[in-house]
Symmetry: C2
Subunit: 185 residues, 2 copies
DNA sequence: TTCGTCATGTAATGGGTTACATGATTAC
DNA sequence: GTAATCATGTAACCCATTACATGACGAA
C-alpha cells in the first residue's frame, strides 16, 4: 500500500520524505498517517529496487570527510518505477477491493485506464455488498436479542456500508457514461 | 482489543475458542475477523494471567498415555478476570476513542457504568469531529486542484464522519436523558 | 470409510508503530 | 544563540495474518 502511494505521489512530482509524509496524510484523508519508521525503510527499498532515485545518492565509500552528510534527499520516480507503478495500478487483485487497497487505487484513478477503473469499482462494490448482506442477516438473526448499544452499532455500520454501495454505484454509472458517450442525444 | 473482546464475551458465557471466534466476527461486524493464529495465543496469555480458566486444563506432567488429548477446551472468566474486565471497560484512555477501541467498548456498553459510557461517547465524538474538521479544511484548501476521483473520495469520507458525529450526538443525548430522567413531564 | 466441519494449535512472516537519536535550517 | 520546525534515520517491539499441521466427530 505504502508502495503504491509513494510511487503514485512521486509520479506527480519529485519530493523528499518529509514532504511525502505530509502529502500522504492529506491524500489518504488525515486518518491513515504512516510514520517515518515505515516511510524511510520503504523509500530505501524502492530505491534499491530501482524504482526511485535519490538525490544526492547515498555515498558508497565513506570518506572520513563529509561523512554523515544528512540533508534533504529528493526522491524521483525512474522510468522503471513508472512502468512498475502502471503495472501495480492495473493489477486488479483481491487486495484492490479492501479498504486500504481500494483507497490507494482510487487516489490515483487519474493515472488508471478507464477499463481498469471500472473493474476496481465493481469489485469493490461486490465486496461491500457482501459485507452489507452479511451484516443484514446477522442483524436479522440476532437483532432482537442484541442489547441496545450493540444493535445501534450494527445499524450504524449497516447504514454506512449501504451508503458506500450507493456511492460506488454512482461512480460506476459516471464511469460508464464517460466511457461510452454513445447514447448522447 | 482482542483482550477486551474475549473477556467481554466470556463474561456473557463460557465458550471454547472456535465458537469465540465466530461470536467475535458477528459481534464486531463481519469485518474484523481475527484469525486463530492470534486468538489461541491470546487465550493462552489470558489463562496464564489468571483471568480465564481452561477446562480441561493443560496437563502439566505429560504422562505418555493420554498425551496430546486434543479436544474442546472451554474457557471461563475467573473472578480476577471479571475484575480485570471491569477495569479495562472503565479505563477511558485515548485508545478508547479510535475505531477499534471504541467499537470494542461500545460492544460491551451494557456492562459499563453510565458515567463511563458518556465519557467514551464524548471522547469519541471529539475525536471524530477533529477528523472531520481536518478533512474539511483539507478539502477547502485543495479541493479545486484535486482530480475528480480524489475529491469524490474525500467528499464521501467527509460525509461519513459527519454522519458519525450526528449518530454519536444522538447516542449522547439518549444517554443523558436516561441518566437524568428529571425533566420527564 | 470418507467427507465435511468442528476444533486446536504453531512457525514464519509481515507491516506497521513507538521511541529514540541526530542533524540542518529558519525565525526571533 | 536558541527555540521551533524541518528532515532523516534506526531499533525494538507489537499485534496481527498466512500457511500449515493435527486431530475429533458426526453424517452419508
Amino acid at each position: 500500500m505504502l508502495e503504491i502511494a509513494v510511487l503514485g505521489l512521486l509520479n506527480e512530482s519529485p519530493m523528499h520524505g518529509y514532504e511525502l509524509r505530509k502529502r500522504l496524510s492529506s491524500l489518504l484523508g488525515a486518518f491513515r498517517a504512516f510514520s517515518y519508521g515505515s516511510l524511510y525503510p520503504t523509500l530505501r527499498r524502492l530505491a534499491d529496487a530501482g524504482w526511485i532515485s535519490e538525490e544526492p545518492p547515498i555515498e558508497a565509500a565513506p570518506g572520513t570527510a563529509t561523512r554523515s552528510r544528512r540533508g534533504k534527499r529528493v526522491y524521483r520516480l525512474t522510468a522503471e518505477g513508472k512502468e512498475h507503478l502502471a503495472v501495480l495500478l492495473a493489477r486488479v487483485g483481491p487486495d484492490a477491493f479492501d479498504d486500504e487497497g481500494f483507497g490507494a487505487r482510487l487516489a490515483f484513478f487519474a493515472q488508471t485506464r478507464s477499463e481498469i477503473r471500472l473493474q476496481i469499482l465493481e469489485g469493490r462494490r461486490r465486496r461491500v455488498e457482501e459485507q452489507r448482506d452479511g451484516m443484514k442477516s446477522t442483524l436479522a438473526r440476532t437483532g432482537e436479542r442484541l442489547d441496545r448499544y450493540t444493535r445501534q452499532l450494527h445499524e450504524h455500520g449497516l447504514e454506512s456500508v449501504d451508503r458506500e454501495v450507493r456511492w460506488l454505484t454512482e461512480l460506476i454509472e459516471n464511469e460508464r457514461s464517460d466511457a461510452s458517450p454513445a447514447a448522447e442525444k
